[in-house]
Symmetry: C2
Subunit: 397 residues, 2 copies
């Protein structure tokens, strides 16, 4: 007689969490150094020293009544103004403070946006592989979750697949670039093609389709020539969901924003819908201390060189051992092709070598497994012999 | 084609916010000191010095990767354990860490609980006057919001009214004691009577009715003999929604908890439902820095002596001028009887005297108006002549 959907959701741990908890138990049994935990996307690099310094300065100098008081539901005006100016200077957009809505992180950004745009039965399309919670968030907002495959091997967008999934009920497409779990950054050309497709069908069905760009990994790209296109520059009906969880290594503090384009005709209704959804879901405002922090460190990023080194080392070894995997452009995940059709069986075999990796099934992509490389470089070194043995057990290489 | 319900919710500011924004404008016109703003419930007393000291100590000594990292969705185990022990020592309960679920404040606690227990069409009863967002939160969770009047003058619970509102679809009753906006604390006797009533109808209809105790004002009581009964001690199916917003003057930081009783048969499903609802709404975890803070300052309260002095001064003056108002036991609101039937007209007339007070209509109680006395004592002194003139304009006194 409780809400059965939420009871079930609370009982079933995600496969990532499940494996992470197993890892904790296993480490207690055989020692921390003997388990190679690639299960979870928790930044391993500390927040920049500037974060600590700024927080302490704020605590020492701001009036505590204002500092810890309510901000407006959208967030402190001066913080939003600073962020709008910064986005404009980076991407040549013309946003103002009232295009921004500060949130308790990317998950909050997504649930608020989905509750703002969806009516019962509306559809959200997501290219697979995708972050598994997209399904939960969409369904909770009354939407129908439709996943379409990316291209085999490259994990680039498959426009035939996307086009054939679009219906008169399509309300949005969620993209996540750099992608969790593939690490792929969608190219400028692909974003242009996607924009044209969404434009065409918005017109055809007389029903605007939003492009929801989930961007927690925007700053985590490792090569100079990798550019992450800013969706709004290609498609006006883009809604950007940003988070500082990964870029500043603050995942537990819950701070991010939604950016909406004021150049679209329904802007004021869309922004009102976001305010209304935030209110109805109980968010009140984003944590004020972290709002003030962001105003000071908006252009700072954690030292991501460790992730780059981890990527190169792990990728090189996997290829060397005979695994099939594409080199990630960004984020801190690698999506390895399972040497046997059933990725769950592959992950179970990996477990016997104390390697904790997550089957791709929950990411909408069977036959692959995700390795998170936001880990200590030493763990990767210790893990390599086990990875080699795992490859040998499949006669790879 | 957006979600019209949320668009409307975002467009219509609450009457409290509306008046607060008017006040800001008016202060700019005629000077800060000439507007008497009793509109909003933002703590005027700063967070205790211990809060700042603890935050800085935590920032200086904790490993930043752990400090700012994800906690489990329920909150850090050691924080939950500390709070469970503290609750047990205060109220003689037998809670453990897994009875607690840390949240982004009381609003989040409420939306999570309502989404955990409600199915479409289930009913939530609330005695009026009530915090207006209860209606928004209940309806967003698919519930039907039923308000019943409290007793005239005393604003004590009216059990006849509550009993006649109970149906086979009743899923919960929200109480808020000390009450916003009346300041009333429901007596132990009243909680016992309410418990018996809910027990009776849970059995009669074979459908457990939850008592949801919204407790942001628990620590804000001003007289030694005022005791706030702990609902769980009288009714096992109580769910406590607590927040540190008012007790520690941290409303902008969003930290609180839900406490559930493990002595009820469906405990594990109810707790799972809470975990599931938190996940589906996008909360991920409560801000970690503030989780760690609470572990250190759980027994500290802001200096509420200012609120007590404000209460006594304002109450005395209102009575003196001929207004009808009951003396609040707690919280920082006074609910004044409007001298004319239409409280909105009364508030408009008050505005002419630069007095900003909120009509009771949105609190489910016509004919009354709320004054928030979480303000500088000097403002009350400056406001008294205007209050006197307002009374005289009605020939009171």
């Amino acid at each position: 007689m409780l809400n059965e959907k939420n009871v079930q959701l609370g009982k079933v741990r995600s496969s990532i969490r499940e494996l992470f908890e197993y890892g904790k138990k296993r480490k207690a049994e055989i020692g921390e150094d003997n388990v190679f935990d690639f299960s979870i996307g928790n930044p391993s690099v500390p927040a920049p020293e500037k974060v600590k310094d700024a927080l302490i300065e704020i605590l020492n100098t701001y009036d505590p009544v204002l500092l810890h008081g309510y901000t407006s539901a959208q967030g402190d005006y001066s913080v939003r103004k600073t962020l709008a100016d910064y986005i404009n200077s980076r991407f040549g957009t013309g946003l103002n403070a009232d295009c921004l809505y500060l949130t308790c992180g990317a998950a909050a950004s997504l649930t608020i946006v989905l509750n703002a745009i969806l009516n019962e039965g509306d559809e959200i399309i997501t290219p697979a592989p995708f972050f598994p919670e997209y399904r939960v968030f969409t369904q909770n907002a009354g939407g129908k979750f439709i996943s379409v495959k990316c291209k085999e091997q490259s994990f680039a967008l498959d426009f035939n697949a996307i086009e054939s999934a679009i219906t008169p009920h399509t309300k949005g497409v969620i993209i996540n670039s750099p992608n969790n779990p593939s690490g792929v950054v969608y190219s400028e050309n692909d974003i242009k093609t996607l924009a044209a497709l969404l434009e065409k069908y918005s017109l055809k069905y007389g029903n605007p389709i939003y492009l929801i760009a989930d961007e927690p990994y925007r700053e985590l790209v490792y090569d100079k020539d990798t550019k992450v296109p800013f969706a709004m520059n290609y498609y006006p009906r883009s809604i950007v969901c940003y988070s500082y969880s990964k870029s500043l290594s603050l995942p537990g503090e819950r701070i991010g924003y939604i950016a909406v384009n004021n150049q679209i005709s329904e802007f004021s209704d869309l922004y009102a819908g976001i305010c209304g959804a935030g209110r109805a879901l109980g968010f009140v405002c984003a944590p004020n201390l972290f709002q003030q922090l962001i105003k000071k460190v908006y252009s700072v990023t954690s030292d991501i060189s460790v992730y780059k080194r981890n990527r190169d080392r792990l990728y090189g070894a996997l290829i060397d051992y005979g695994f099939s995997v594409i080199k990630p452009d960004g984020a801190f995940y690698m999506f390895v092709k399972s040497p046997e059709p059933d990725a769950k069986a592959f992950c179970e075999r990996a477990k016997k070598h104390e390697l904790l990796i997550v089957a791709g099934d929950d990411f909408g992509c069977e036959g692959y497994a995700r390795m998170s490389y936001c880990v200590a470089p030493e763990m990767i070194e210790r893990a390599l012999p086990a990875l080699k043995k795992l490859a040998e057990s499949y006669n790879l290489g």
